[in-house]
């Protein structure tokens, strides 16, 4: 099922949570909505689900305008961050709930409902736990029950709100891999919200980076990491450093000194680069400054270099080879190898 979000605007008490957001989601895609808290990612997910109504704009499921359909009519599977399991029902009853509340004409017979519930529990690898109550399960198990419950209604779309947010790191990693396999097996159009960029980059076909109620960039993991299109995305995803520079006559200057970089457009700009995308330069133009801190990080060494004047120092972190002379106080000179200017 394709989902098309068209110029959606959502206001809560006149405070806009989403500004005219548009997004196309292809059928069978696994999409991550990534952003800091307050970026509107959960609001967007809830709008797609029908748990919120848009102030303006439309949402299409396939060719059908679903904007004003209620969550009941949309047939979406929604998984909540805190599972939202029904605590007075057993695991099997939880999973079967979506089938048992169907109108009589569409409700499968009891034995069939039970068979389907057990089949779904088997799919989420929880066979044998069907008689337990939710509070007798671990967090990871509860989340899988919630997923099985959402899948029971054979949804057109699967929506997950911070599905791993309440789990510890190890379980989170396991479930992440498991969800990817699950998605590949079932082929549902899946949208999940996360503030964990590692999760988004690892899991999703495409990542939607959001900030302050707007979509900053939509692209594959490679796109958003290697080709960020805004200062926000550059600094939000992965490690990065940025410096104020000026471009004059095609050359980039930092604090009046040539840097050896060249650009097309003149003017004041910010130079962004990642710590690993630098090479040490002994001679020629570059960025030069004393090392103020240096620490060993697994296979590399991170050096913090102070640049600019002593009145307004800029600190950047760069990766240096282990054998480089980068002790505190020594002077390093480097040039970014991959970088981007934002005017």
């Amino acid at each position: 099922m394709e989902i098309r979000v068209e110029k959606i605007r959502k206001e809560f008490d006149l405070y806009p949570a989403l500004h005219d957001v548009s997004l196309d989601i292809k059928s069978g895609e696994l999409i991550a909505l990534l952003g800091p808290s307050g970026s509107g990612k959960t609001t967007l997910l809830r709008l797609i689900a029908g748990l919120e109504q848009p102030t303006q704009g439309r949402i299409f499921f396939g060719n059908e305008d679903a904007s004003y359909k209620s969550v009941r009519e949309r047939n979406v599977g929604f998984v909540f961050q805190h599972y939202a399991l029904f605590r007075h029902m057993t695991v099997a009853e939880n999973v079967a709930f979506g089938l048992t509340v169907r109108p009589k004409a569409q409700r499968p017979p009891k034995a069939e409902i039970r068979r389907r519930a057990l089949e779904l529990l088997d799919m989420v690898q929880l066979s044998g736990l069907e008689k337990r109550f939710p509070n007798q399960l671990s967090g990871g198990q509860r989340q899988r029950v919630a997923l099985a419950r959402a899948m029971a209604i054979e949804p057109k779309v699967l929506l997950l709100d911070e599905p791993f947010g309440a789990l510890d790191a190890k379980v989170r990693k396991e479930l992440r891999r498991w969800l990817r396999e699950f998605h590949d097996r079932t082929g549902h159009t899946t949208v999940f919200v996360t503030h964990d960029q590692e999760e988004a980059l690892e899991l999703a076909d495409r990542v939607v980076v959001m900030s302050q109620g707007k979509i900053e960039q939509v692209g594959s993991s490679d796109d958003v990491y290697d080709r960020p299109n805004s200062p926000f995305v550059f600094s939000f995803i992965g490690e990065s450093a940025n410096l104020p520079v000026t471009v004059e006559g095609g050359a980039v200057f930092f604090h009046g000194a040539p840097t050896g970089l060249s650009a097309q457009r003149d003017g004041a700009a910010r130079l962004f680069f990642r710590p690993q995308d630098v090479s040490l330069a002994d001679e020629g133009p570059g960025f030069t400054g004393p090392v103020t801190a240096s620490r060993r990080l697994a296979g590399t060494r991170i050096a913090e270099v102070e640049l600019g004047s002593s009145e307004e120092p800029c600190h950047v972190e760069i990766e240096v080879p282990l054998d480089a002379a980068a002790s505190n106080g020594s002077v390093l000179s480097f040039r970014p190898t991959r970088w981007k200017l934002f005017y």
């Binding site: 209620s70 009941r72 929604f78 939202a84 979506g98 509340v101 007798q136 209604i153």
Partner: protein, 286 residues
């Protein structure tokens, strides 16, 4: 965690960083003994002095049986009514924000605060055949004041806060997500309320019911004004106890008190058992 909890359940004392277990338990037992157990024991001792034959004769007296029937049936009906309207009231207070919500919230507690006799007199004035509400009911052939119906109304007024105040906090804890989950699975409003929300409230509702019932059985002040106190019709057992005391018939008074105590205790015990079962059934504890 679950197994640790159930294993620790029968320990004499749970290791705790808070000191004073011995002191507080000792205080609790001494306090309960002084305030509750000694008076009740005196009651038991007094009625034991009657001997089985006299005791049985006194409690099977037709007027006594009539009064017991009135007391327990009206308290039961009032508690059931309070469960329905108490849950609705709690729902309105928890789920909706409207102007004056805090005032309504405070009004719920009023029956706790006003002297019950005042409530009884006010209700009588309202529901008497020439009263504000009674005058509309009389042409319809409904008599409230001076009938068991009047007793039920008085007990409803007295018992309402018990249900509201026990259900309200539990209702507050039910997250909106649970309702949204039910809706996303295709449940309509009715199914969400009756299959998802209410079952989770059953233990709290039972507690409220038990409190309202117990209060209704023992209620005296508000009832005697509206009941009319007609023997066999609208005379409640607590009033009969007072009548017997005024006749210096202490044996009768203790016998009625004892049988009330026994019946109440058995009812509350039954409710507690159901409650414990439902808590387990609904997965609150293991």
């Amino acid at each position: 965690m679950i197994s640790a909890r159930s294993a620790a359940r029968w320990h004499w004392k749970n290791p705790s960083v808070i000191p004073g277990f011995g002191l507080t338990l000792g205080f609790t037992l001494a306090y309960l003994t002084l305030i509750i157990l000694i008076p009740l024991a005196a009651l038991g001792w007094r009625s034991a002095a009657l001997g089985w034959f006299d005791f049985f004769r006194l409690i099977t007296d037709a007027r006594t049986l009539g009064a017991l029937k009135v007391s327990f049936s009206t308290a039961l009906i009032a508690a059931v009514v309070n469960v329905v309207f108490g849950v609705i009231t709690a729902w309105v207070l928890v789920r909706y924000d409207f102007p004056g919500r805090r005032i309504v919230d405070a009004i719920v507690d009023l029956p706790f605060a006003i002297p019950t006799a005042v409530a009884g007199i006010a209700l009588t004035a309202l529901y008497a055949p020439n009263g504000l509400i009674g005058s509309f009911l009389t042409p319809l052939g409904i008599k409230v004041a001076y009938t068991p119906l009047g007793i039920v109304i008085a007990l409803i007024a007295i018992g309402l806060p018990f249900v509201v105040r026990t259900v309200q906090p539990v209702m507050q804890e039910i997250s909106k997500e649970v309702e949204e989950a039910a809706a996303s699975l295709g449940a309509n409003r009715f199914q969400t309320i009756f299959r998802v929300i209410l079952p989770g409230l059953v233990p709290a509702i039972l507690t409220g019911f038990a409190l309202a019932l117990a209060r209704g059985i023992g209620e005296y002040g508000s009832v005697i004004f509206i009941a009319g106190n007609i023997p066999f019709v609208s005379e409640i057992a607590p009033l009969l106890i007072v009548i017997r005391l005024e006749e210096f018939d202490y044996g009768s008074a203790t016998a009625i008190a004892t049988i009330m105590l026994i019946i109440s205790f058995l009812m509350l015990l039954l409710i507690n058992v159901i409650q414990a079962w439902s808590r387990r059934r609904f997965g609150y504890e293991q």
